[in-house]
């Protein structure tokens, strides 16, 4: 058998291949293509794909492909694609990362498309600002949410404990938790989750004290006293049996499936409002949403309406116009918005909010009512967190665990947290 290819044949074959590929490009050039990337679960993917199909039927000659991953896998994939000059055109972006991506030139500024092609006139001003970095718009908010307490109302009722209200303080809530634990109606169930390592909880608590996680210029926004007192409060809750012990809390991998409420280990846990539908789907008991507790009866402003996620456009995209048009469709077309429901949070556009509100099911209404009913508990949106905030979050949790397992005192934990976060921010 001869493996030789004569030069003549080789050249002929190569030329054929080349001309074929040229044919290919000219055929596809008619069609405008768009690639999307987002994180989330299957239901979100179904909704998103339906919107893409709708867009394609309304805009002949466009082809939209989407890909989705879980939160943990999403960021490595996105970073790799951006580094490989292969970024998707439309990128789902989080409040935590938008500064990092925008400042490093990975995202396209969109303000020049407003208002003709990107009409955000009836958006909340604060939420548009949330997607802006250094005076440029880099992300269009896909919905608002807020941090929230998830309550297993069935478990509360069984233990004979009333549900907390907007007036409940942390101390009162801890007493309720201890009562539920003590009632012992369900084996292995405690009153509350241990929130000492939860960043949204800590931030909410700091804001009620007039502090913040991070300042506007990216410095640490709290002191040793704050952190020590925080860890100390939860240490007392643990001691009183109000919340789960440290080895149970450590099962929580910061997702819906392993939250202590979903695991049946606690009657109350901590989450985000747009996750409520998914929480209810995972739990047989009747769940409810409520706010994070007040530190004192008259303290307020801990909560805020947060852009739950954005759509951003890659600076590398060759179809920025199309991407902007798609995003505009995604947040402003009534049919699209109805397909999306409140799964990504409550629509920012006032008109679209009305469209959705009219057709919401019971669980969707819970999230909507919760976010719009926060009242004096809600305050201003904090500035986007600096680079290194992801590490800071892990550190808060790590030290919370050391305190929880008795390896550190709350006072030393507070000291260490401030030292570590200061170092992380300095390193960038």
């Amino acid at each position: 058998m001869s493996l030789r290819v004569s030069r003549r044949n080789f050249v002929a074959g190569g030329a054929t291949l080349l001309s074929l590929s040229a044919l290919g490009t000219s055929a596809f050039a008619q069609e405008q293509r768009l690639r999307l990337l987002w994180w989330g679960s299957q239901p979100r993917a179904d909704r998103t794909n339906k919107v893409s199909q709708l867009y394609q039927t309304k805009n002949a000659g466009t082809s939209i492909t989407g890909e989705f991953l879980g939160w943990g896998d999403y960021w490595p994939r996105l970073a790799t694609q951006v580094a490989g000059r292969n970024a998707p055109d439309v990128i789902q972006m989080d409040y935590r990362y938008i500064v990092q991506y925008a400042r490093r030139g990975a995202l396209a500024p969109l303000e020049s498309y407003m208002p003709a092609k990107l009409n955000l006139d009836d958006f909340d001003k604060a939420q548009i600002d949330g997607g802006s970095v250094d005076g440029h718009l880099y992300g269009v908010s896909l919905g608002a949410n807020s941090a929230a307490t998830v309550l297993n109302t069935t478990a509360f009722k069984e233990a004979g404990v009333d549900l907390p209200t907007q007036a409940t303080t942390w101390d009162e809530f801890a007493r309720m938790g201890a009562e539920i634990t003590k009632a012992g109606k369900r084996k292995g169930m405690f009153g509350l989750a241990d929130g000492s390592g939860g960043e949204p909880l800590f931030e909410n608590w700091l804001r009620q004290r007039g502090k913040a996680l991070y300042t506007a210029d990216g410095k640490i926004g709290f002191g040793v006293d704050d952190a020590s007192e925080w860890y100390d409060m939860w240490a007392k809750f643990r001691e009183a049996g109000a919340c789960v012990p440290a080895d149970i809390q450590a099962l929580d991998k910061n997702d819906i499936e392993t939250n202590t409420v979903s695991l049946g280990k606690s009657a109350a846990g901590f989450a985000h409002s747009n996750q409520f539908v998914a929480y209810q789907a995972m739990n047989k008991d009747k769940l409810a949403l409520t706010n994070y507790m007040r530190i004192k009866a008259d303290s307020k402003g801990g909560h805020y309406r947060k852009p739950s996620m954005f759509f951003s456009v890659s600076a590398q995209s060759k179809a920025i116009d199309l991407a902007v048009d798609y995003i505009n469709f995604f947040v402003k077309n009534p049919e699209a918005v109805l397909l999306l429901d409140v799964e990504r949070g409550i629509p920012e556009s006032a008109a679209m909010r009305e469209v959705v509100a009219a057709k919401l099911d019971e669980n969707g209404k819970v999230a909507l009512a919760y976010v719009s009913g926060l009242g004096d508990l809600a305050g201003k949106l904090p500035p986007p967190p600096p680079a290194g905030a992801g590490e800071g979050e892990l550190m808060l949790r790590n030290i919370a665990e050391q305190v929880g397992f008795g390896q550190l005192s709350p006072a030393d934990g507070g000291k260490q947290l401030v030292t570590e976060i200061t170092q992380i921010l300095a390193r960038g």
Partner: protein
């Protein structure tokens, strides 16, 4: 195929020599070897494109500050200096990984050897058992098993259910900083299949007449094991130990799944590779992560070299 490949080795040399004189050494060599290289091509492309190339690039990146979004910036030895002097997480990760290696490798090899010896006693249905025992090795690296492990060792898992029969109330092993690493060691030991298969092959190589002679001389079973089996098996033990040690240093999936990528609780499952991954993809420090990777390569190389150096004192080869 060319004729040269079918002629005996000696003949090729003559032919080559003559060929080199007659029409140029390289053309002749090319004619002889080209099909070989052609068939090697897929592997060669993979080796240069997917292994050597990226490895060299990562060596370069380890001397830079690279966040994946902007171009790398040369920083010289700064990454390595930081690893050596100012990174507590590096030492934490190293400690976890060494604990894992030190516990998992000996236990796994002992277990594999015991099972191999049991299977070597002319059991009926040997192939069936062999397949069954090998199964965990095939499944072990998978996400599903790591999830299963979480269930087994959680507070209300099977392990604690069994312990409660004896009145012991166990903690949540998987999420307790004192025990979590040992649940991962257990997971590794459970995947004893591939060293077992190699041990089994090694045991088959030992001539039966040695055992017969030993029993005639009245040597006990234990003495036979100690004086015949072990010494003759040392090459296989050595091989298994080196391979398993390298594997243990590189372990990633179980810790990633079980801790949700955090390495928690309190860094107790922060494997070296997991820390490397966090730095690269969580914190966008690709340069620093590359330096970490090269330190790991160095450590594995030192361990392996050390094993080879000591091997001459305890590994017995027949020849």
């Amino acid at each position: 195929m060319s004729n040269a490949m079918r002629t005996p080795a000696g003949a090729i040399n003559v032919e080559r020599y003559q060929g080199a004189v007659a029409e140029g050494r390289f053309r002749r060599l090319w004619n002889t070897n080209a099909p070989g290289y052609l068939f090697l091509l897929p592997w060669l492309i993979g080796f240069f494109g997917l292994t050597l190339g990226p490895a060299l690039i990562s060596l370069y990146l380890s001397f830079t500050d690279f966040d994946m979004l902007q171009s790398p910036r040369w920083v010289g030895m700064a990454n390595y200096v930081r690893i050596a002097t100012a990174d507590p997480k590096f030492s934490a990760a190293m400690h976890v990984t060494l604990t894992y290696v030190v516990f998992s490798v000996p236990f796994k090899l002992t277990f594999a050897l015991l099972v191999a010896m049991a299977l070597n006693r002319g059991l009926r249905g040997l192939t069936f058992y062999r397949a069954i025992f090998y199964l965990p090795s095939l499944l072990g690296g998978s996400v599903a098993i790591a999830v299963l492990w979480r269930q087994l060792f959680a507070s209300d898992g099977l392990v604690n259910a069994a312990l409660s029969q004896f009145g012991i109330e166990g903690p949540s092993w998987i999420s307790h900083p004192n025990y979590s690493i040992y649940t991962l060691v257990a997971l590794s030991v459970w995947q004893f299949g591939s060293p077992m298969i190699i041990f089994l092959a090694g045991l088959r190589q030992i001539p039966q007449d040695m055992y017969e002679a030993a029993s005639l001389d009245g040597a006990s079973k234990f003495r036979q094991f100690y004086k015949i089996t072990l010494p003759l098996l040392t090459p296989v033990i050595f091989f298994n130990a080196v391979v398993q040690t390298i594997d243990a240093f590189k372990a990633f999936t179980p810790a990633f799944i079980i801790s949700g990528g955090t390495g928690g609780p309190i860094n107790s499952t922060l494997f070296y590779t997991l820390y490397l991954y966090q730095e690269a993809f969580g914190n966008f420090r690709m340069g620093y992560a590359s330096a970490l990777a090269w330190i790991l390569v160095l450590i594995i190389a030192v361990f392996t070299a050390f094993s080879f150096l000591t091997s001459r004192y305890w590994v017995h080869y027949d020849d």
